[in-house]
Symmetry: C2
Subunit: 82 residues, 2 copies
């Protein structure tokens, strides 16, 4: 499992759409607070690999492309713990 | 906005993976409890249209294909209200 504190530090960019507390600022974007750790890791990897595509995925593909596996684990730990 | 009671009645199939209370039974599947209404509608329509594809999307495309716009609104009302 990742490091939630490191995930919080990394999450500044995410907050723009997903909210400072993991509650999305824009209604068509998902809340992340309390989401499943494994699902967050799955989704970020799917965006990073391009496996998840279509619709709003392009936004997340660009964001996920910059994330390391460690970043992904830390972000998942942070948001799943909210 | 949809009808949460009608959504609950329709949600029996969803519970198999997303849990009877919207907390996913399988860690790589998303929780739906308290998710944004508009995001749920967006995601179900993206699966229904095939706009969202790749990875686990195939499972949801099959499920969403059977849903009417009214079903989608009702399910979104139900899960967002949990």
């Amino acid at each position: 499992q990742g490091d939630a504190a490191a995930g919080k530090a990394k999450s500044a960019i995410c907050a723009a759409c997903h909210g400072a507390n993991g509650k999305a600022t824009i209604a068509t974007y998902p809340n992340l607070a309390g989401q499943n750790y494994d699902y967050i890791v799955y989704a970020l990897n799917a965006y990073k690999s391009g496996a998840r595509s279509g619709g709003q995925a392009a936004i997340m593909q660009a964001q996920a492309a910059k994330l390391s596996a460690e970043d992904i684990a830390n972000l998942a730990a942070y948001f799943s713990g909210l």
